[in-house]
């Protein structure tokens, strides 16, 4: 039995909306989803497991119709859907009584239930979210029924406000595979318990690969693998600066990095280290170099505090450095105080 496991597609989300990147991430998410459908057909998967948060928020009727028409294109795959904490089923949800096409099955209860597929001798267990938060650990006591059939749990959760998950209990329950959703970073908790992660990265903090999990299951043998599938990735570029760094050089370095790492991807740029007193890194300009969603300047003016302290041992400047360095406070606060005080004092000297 072959299956494809995805989660947290968040159709309808529009990451980086409003940024002048010329990229429509919202549309790309839909395209990725379409590709999953093609993939299912191509690999002749028996099941497509969608572990919740298919939509970014409660779906509109027309959105469901769109998706339904995608599902209709599946040649031999059955789709299992559950509502997650983002597209939960409220009284006004369009999920209620929606006429899915025949190969689509949705869990419509907030208590665990199961659906059996005779042709592949597989039973899929699951439930749906009927509110944003579920604080009870609904999966802890769930056990598969029979041993002869392949049992799969389709689940969504993993933090205290969205069904806390106990890895040990799940592993001990005896499911052949547990398809998890909610955490956007893919991860195999155990050999057969996995978060597929979000299909496309949705936020600049979601670095790394995103995609789907493809599995081949029989009672005897199990193979699961993560396939990177997303169109773009978020990557972090850290540029080390020194007092010689200029805006032009910074731009050049960033451009080189982007060329190497892929111009398709989305970048967060962090500039670290020292900079010359007169230089100010213009992060706005920097962001025009490529698909840069954030550019942060963490550099500090290259004050040689040792020298300054020495040269000004007796006066305010030296004393200030000394006093700050010996303060009993968080390093970050001290560092900022040191630099900002130094700037002020040195400016007041000129």
């Amino acid at each position: 039995m072959r299956f494809v496991h995805i989660a947290d597609v968040h159709l309808g989300a529009k990451p980086e909306e409003g940024k002048p990147l010329g990229i429509d991430r919202g549309k790309e998410i839909y395209e990725s989803f379409e590709h999953v459908i093609s993939f299912c057909n191509q690999e002749r998967a028996d099941l497509l497991l969608i572990a919740g948060d298919l939509f970014h928020r409660q779906p509109l009727l027309r959105e469901l119709r769109e998706i339904n028409s995608y599902f209709e294109q599946l040649t031999q795959t059955k789709v299992l859907i559950m509502a997650g904490n983002h597209d939960y089923i409220s009284p006004r949800s369009s999920y209620i009584e929606f006429p899915w096409c025949d190969n689509v099955y949705m869990f419509m209860s907030d208590e665990p239930g199961s659906i059996y597929f005779e042709d592949i001798q597989t039973r899929v267990y699951g439930l749906s979210y009927f509110s944003r938060d579920i604080t009870t650990a609904k999966y802890d006591k769930l056990l598969p029924e029979r041993n002869q059939e392949i049992s799969i749990l389709l689940a969504h959760g993993g933090d205290e406000r969205n069904i806390p998950i106990d890895k040990e209990k799940l592993a001990a329950a005896g499911f052949d595979y547990i398809a998890l959703g909610h955490i956007h970073k893919h991860e195999f908790l155990t050999k057969n318990i996995a978060y597929a992660g979000s299909l496309e990265p949705l936020d600049k903090n979601e670095l790394g690969d995103h995609g789907l999990i493809y599995g081949n299951l029989t009672k005897e043998q199990q193979e699961f693998a993560f396939y990177p599938f997303s169109k773009r990735k978020y990557k972090l570029i850290t540029i080390q600066s020194d007092e010689k760094m200029t805006n032009a050089e910074l731009k050049k370095k960033v451009m080189e990095c982007i060329q190497v790492e892929g111009i398709m991807n989305l970048y967060r740029v962090v500039i670290e280290g020292k900079r010359d007193e007169q230089i100010k890194f213009v992060t706005d300009e920097l962001m025009k170099v490529g698909n840069i969603v954030e550019a942060v300047d963490h550099t500090r003016i290259n004050y040689d505090f040792k020298m300054l302290k020495e040269e000004n041992a007796d006066n305010m400047i030296g004393l200030f450095i000394d006093r700050i360095q010996s303060e009993n406070m968080e390093e970050s606060v001290k560092e900022k105080a040191l630099y900002i005080g130094m700037e002020a004092l040195l400016h007041a000297r000129d």
């Binding site: 006004r92 010359d276 000004n312 006066n315 900002i340 002020a344 004092l345």
Partner: protein, 700 residues
Amino acid sequence: MIIRELRPGHFGKFHNQIIPLEPGVNVIYGRNEAGKSTLHSFIKGMFFGMDRLRGKAGKDDPYMKYQPWDTPGEFCGSIDIEYKDTVYRIDRSFYQKKKSFTVTDIETGRTVPMSRLHAGDVIPGFNESTYRNTISMEQLHAKTDAELAKEVANFIANLSTAKSNEVDVAKALENLQEKRKNKMAESEENEIAALEEAIELCKQNEVLMEQYSISLRTMEKKHKEIKEKILNLEKAEQENKQTCIRHLPFILENYKRYGEIKKQIRDIREKTEEYEKKAAVVRGLPSSERIQNDITKYEQLTVEKYELEQAFHKDVDELGPKIERQDKNTRYLSLIPAAAGMLLLAIPFGAIILKGVIGVLLIVIGIYLYVTKVKDIEKARNHITALRKEYEKNVIHIQSRKKDILLENKVVNLENLRSKLNEILIAEHERSYARQLFEDSKNELEALRNKRDEIHHQVMNFMKFYMNDPDMTEECMLELKNIISERQEEHKEEKDSLLKQERDLALEIEKLKWNIEALEDNENQLIKKQQMLEQMQHREQERKEEISSINLAIRTIQNLAVHIHDSFGAELNERISAMVYEVTGGIYGDIIMDERMSIKVRHNHSYVPLDRLSAGTIEQVYLAIRLALADLFFNKEKMPIIIDDAFAYYDDERMSAALRCLTKECDRQILIFTCHHRETELLEKEQIPYHLIDLENSCS
């Protein structure tokens, strides 16, 4: 410390020159561009090195300025200084790529190990900062007296708080406070609060939306029900209309007709009565027939009589002659046959028997005839007589009968009888006419009665639906109408109320739908706002950190300032005060600086604000400060004072005072860089010994 000799190897325009200096006052004279500031920079550079400045300062970068054009690599020099009875040679190469700095004890020839790139190891307290504060006296930029006072005040203030005359603590604090103010102004606290409120609102809206959805569902259901009810009502109404409404006018119409029919029946009855009346009248009268009969009889009688008369006469007239004639005829007549007979007999020929028979017969007949005839005539004559009697009897009879008739009819003559007959005829005619009408109406009556009964039946049936004891009366009809119209009213009211409910519901539903639509974007908004909130809170957190950093810096600086003020400042004050006293020859003494950094000087028994003093005095104070500072920093070791064009704006009087003050410190080396002769003139005038170095002449 005394600077003995300057040897700029390759520095600006100096190449391998040697400039010896003496203790005491040295006047280094050169016109503009002669190299005075070069030399001054050389001295500083020798002590502290020359680093290329970057950025903005690059324009005035001394390194670039003084680097020899032709031999940049040979950027170097050396000086000799005497400190605490030891003479040191300082060698330095300024060339960036090959910087070097050595201090050599001339006597022993040994290099003094240096841990840094300036002579601080040899001379304690000697660093760029103290150099600038004490040794290198720059021009006071003040042109006016007021500015002068201010500048001096700043000088002292800076010193008192920062222990460095260049660091304006107040300015630094201001800068930091400004930064802090800006950071605080950037605070998005309000926006965050607003966002949090908005998010709350969004969440409430979500709840609201759900309620709306639920309401909508129930309302739509109810709406459907009501619509069905209305439909049923309308169907019933239609049916009702068909019975009730449609029939009512019909019924009313029928009722009207009923009335009419009744009237017609009444009319007919009247006619009947008429007829009865007439009949009664006629009954009371002899029938016209009878009278007619009587009249007819009478007339008949008259006619009879006449006829009788006529008949009689006729008969008589007729019969008479007739009889006569007959008589005659008879005779003859009878003869005929006899004759014939005889004739016959007489005839010879023929059958005798036959003839005979016939003849005989004829004769017989003839005779017979005659006889009879005569009898007849007799009879006839008798008859006439009888007739006459008869006639007369009849006439009398007739006349009596006529009389009877008249008597019976109580009239006197036929005329009256006739007129009576007329009357009776009229009455009878009337009667018959009435009867005719009556007869005509009889059928009609039948039909009318049937119709009336039919209508009655119909109406009764109809009315039985609505009333208990219906009657064919006006009141009942009215009641019926009222009942029906009441029912209609009720019906209409019910329908109206249902319609209103339906409309209201439909309106409510529309409103709900509209509300829901308006809120459709709510979820999107919620998610967006939550994201924004997160980012804002993150930024706010960073801001807070920065503000606490700034606060730390401010606090530290303030504390240090106070500390410095209290420790060094106090000492400085003492020293300055002493120096001022000395320098001003005892006229001015204590200097105090209040919390607003304004300086006061004691004069006799009162404290005079610094800016009230004359420029000259202020200068003296300034000098006193620098001298005091020098003492303080270098622990009474007399450091040289380098004055680079500092007296440029001084008038003669001030300069004299300054020179006098300076030179009082006879154990201090003074280097005066100038492009004027004023200084030398004044020195001459004041009889102060000095050593002159003319750069133009010593340039080789």
